[in-house]
Amino acid sequence: MQDDPPGALLLEEVARALKAGIAPGFQQHVAANAIALAQREDRLAAESHAQEAERLRGLLDRDGSLPELNFALAEAIRTGAITLSNAALREHLVRTTIEKLEVDQPNYPAFRAWKG
């Protein structure tokens, strides 16, 4: 599940910053990155969230919204109801993290290095 703040709120902030007058250089660079992130989220998140929810329903054997399912998984890990050696859990965490990073930072150096 993509983290807060969602792309739409980042875009709101970019718009606000542009109206107020954005300094050339670093601040512009950050704003451009925020727009690109929101675009990737728009393109990728619906599909990855659907797959994530499906995996979560399988892992937890219950239904719910994506945030509810994520809270339930966090709780199950915390209490030991799902153990760290659970292969399906590990697979879910790896897949979900890859999906998140494809939106947040596809150019994160360690991520790029892994993708080869």
Binding site: M1, A17, L84, V94, Q105
Partner: protein, 338 residues
């Protein structure tokens, strides 16, 4: 009189009170926008015309000190002096701002030439030779920091591995976010983070970005505000966090060196041997530690403290989740699935 003129006058007065021959102050310029401290560069002119380049480090009025670190600027200046006496390369403290100074709460220190920006430390061709020896030098300097006597007058925060883990979990809970990867890391740490055998003086923020590097090597260690007492392996692990390696994730120590070199330098300078498994466990801890700082920014954004930059830092917490699953589930089949 504008703010800069007020600042310049206050600096002259503070320098004189500190026993320095000071005629006037010139070239006052804001340096970094540090997260919690301000840095100002200036040149102190003596009556004989002699110039000394200095940096003012001050606590902006109204900003609170981190509960994780030192209790104030006077303590920080004293920590720098003690580190210098222990053979740790640090900028020399020139003078402190007296209480009630219009310049605020802080101190002036020598302005050192050299590179501090992490990305440039890794890229600048003139630092190529320095980079080769840097991990070993970092190890040696950390050994000297960890050998510093713990002066009760500094009132350093002290926490062992278990307290640190409990505090990390509490900070994560305070974000109110469901993060199965962080939960996984917490469980793993609960089983794998060794209780420290000894507690030492720690820098607390020793990483690429807080080092001054010149062509001949490490010139100084900056930013001591998170100094505390705890497990020495935590300091060695912080500089290995992937986020500080910038474009060189393949070089574990700050993007410029190997863990073997770091630990060799540490041992050569008298540091007690560190078990690689303990270092690994602390890397997991410190990776989540950075991730929790990013995630906390997400909470602040959603609570109304909105900025593009703050939001984008919050969206970096997933990079630490990536690093955590790489550290904790490297063998997982899902890494090989297209």
């Amino acid at each position: 009189m504008d703010d800069r003129a007020v600042l310049a006058d206050a600096l002259v007065e503070a320098a004189r009170a500190g026993g320095l021959p000071a005629e006037r102050v010139e070239r006052v310029e804001r340096l970094s926008g540090g997260a919690s401290k301000e840095s100002w560069g200036f040149v102190l002119i003596a009556p004989d015309g002699g110039e000394t380049a200095l940096v003012l480090r001050r606590q902006p009025p109204g900003k609170r000190f981190s509960s994780q670190g030192l209790s104030g600027m006077t303590v920080e200046a004293e920590v720098l002096r003690q580190a210098g006496r222990a053979g740790v390369p640090v900028p020399a403290v020139a003078f402190e701002l007296p209480e009630g100074s219009p310049a605020g709460d802080g101190y002036a220190m020598a302005r050192l030439a050299g590179e501090t920006v992490g990305v440039r430390v890794l890229k600048d061709p003139s630092l190529a030779q320095a980079r080769e020896a840097l991990a070993r030098q970092c190890g040696a300097v950390l050994a000297r920091i960890h050998a510093m006597p713990i002066d009760p007058a500094l009132g350093l925060v002290e926490h062992g591995a278990r307290d640190a883990l409990a505090a990390l979990e509490e900070r994560h809970r305070a974000t109110g976010q469901a993060r199965p990867v962080f939960e996984f890391a917490l469980r793993w740490l609960d089983d794998n983070l060794p209780a420290e055998e000894r507690r030492t003086f720690l820098h607390g923020d020793f990483r690429n970005g807080n080092l001054v590097v010149g062509p001949e090597g490490l010139r100084a260690v900056l930013d001591w505000e998170l100094a505390h007492v705890g497990a020495p392996a935590s300091d060695l692990a912080w500089i290995c966090v992937n986020s500080w390696r910038f474009q060189r994730p393949d070089l574990a120590v700050g993007g410029f060196g190997t863990r073997d070199d770091l630990l060799a330098g540490y041992a050569e300078a008298g540091g007690s041997p560190v078990d690689p498994r303990e270092l690994h466990a602390w890397e997991v801890f410190q990776t989540m530690n950075w991730g929790t700082m990013c995630a906390g920014g997400g909470r602040l954004f959603m609570d109304g403290a909105r900025s593009v930059e703050g939001g984008m830092i919050a969206r970096r917490s997933s990079e630490t989740e990536f690093d955590l699953v790489r550290l904790l589930a490297p063998e997982c089949e899902a890494w090989n699935a297209g």
